[in-house]
């Protein structure tokens, strides 16, 4: 149960980061978002 809640929270934030990268116009801000996204994806797939 708690793992499902965890997945939903991480998935929600991951979608937000992806959406941020798509609509952001400044390249360096997009790049910062991409670095954060890597951590979230690894968490989402329970790799680390």
């Amino acid at each position: 149960m708690i793992q499902t809640v965890y997945h939903i929270i991480v998935l929600y934030l991951t979608i937000h980061i992806i959406w941020f990268i798509i609509r952001e116009k400044k390249f360096w801000d997009q790049l910062s978002g991409m670095i954060v996204l890597v951590m979230f994806l690894l968490r989402l797939f329970l790799i680390k």
Partner: protein, 374 residues
Amino acid sequence: MKKHHVKALLLLFLAALICYLSARDFLTMHHAEAIYPSPQLTTKKRLSDYFPGLKNSPGDSPVYIFEGRTKGGNLLILGGTHPNEPAGFMTTVLLVENLEVIQGKIIIVPRANNSGFMHNDPQEGNPQRYSLETAGGSRWFRYGSRLTNPIHQWPDPVLYVNPAGQKLSGTESRNLNRSYPGRKNGYLTEKIAYGIMQLITVEKIDLAVDLHEAAPEYPVINAIVFHERSAELAAIASMTLQMEGVDIQLEASPPNLRGLSHREWGDFTETLAILLETANTSHGRLKGKPSATLITEGKDKNYQRAAQLGLLFVPFSEEGIPLKKRVSRHLATLNALVFGLSELFPDLPIRFQKIPSSTDVESAGIGAFLTPPK
């Protein structure tokens, strides 16, 4: 499509690529190193054979059983309770690959906390593996974490009350050596502890030894930690080692420090419980850059300096404390304990052969006694 959308797509692709590469590298930690048991192995079981609750879980682990032709004492040797303490693990590998038991029974669990071998500690920069040279090539072995993989046991409680009733910080819920006597329906680490307790009971273990290492600045080091029922045995082993020129401390297991193997094995089963410690540079807090060489060679300038300042509990020269020396110390202590058991309980003899002597391991290295890679 606008320009920043193209950049976004490229960055998303890059994120996916980094994820794929890092995940592929990290997931190799789930693959265990090869162990080639000696032809005299009687049977290979798993911890789940003693506690089915571990079946198909990352806490399940191989159990190697060597039985002699005649009955005698029963000895359990545990390595890998803390997978970042490689001398304990390597001692068990060395035993599994060479042992021939003549009398009695020896049971060996090299990866006591199997899950702890499947990751390593964040922000430590530790290598995922180290290698040893054998007669026929190089073999690698995992260097894991002190704690169970959080992917397998999550979340940690804020305060952990272990099965023996001791209050500890939350992360300790993933420390096998704080989780005894275990819980049937508890956390994964508690289930592993419960499985080991079951093994001790079912196999009627007379002497159980948990092999560890500690940082050179830790006071309980080069030591035999003993439960009060094992005091006489530990004293005999200590005297035997002193006569062989091996300096060793005796440490009584504190009755109010609960959840540890040397306490709960002794309190909850009939076994004589012992824990051994050697000095491991690679998991000390004063070490320099972590590397596979640091694990195997144990050389570190910071520790040399700390020794000169009198801050360590073991001698530390520029030669360091190599893995072969730590394994040789564990072997010598195990020999002394088996000798002590036969002295105290003549009806519980354990006789074995083909184990390299501690001096041979120290001079020729561990790899000389390991099976070449197949």
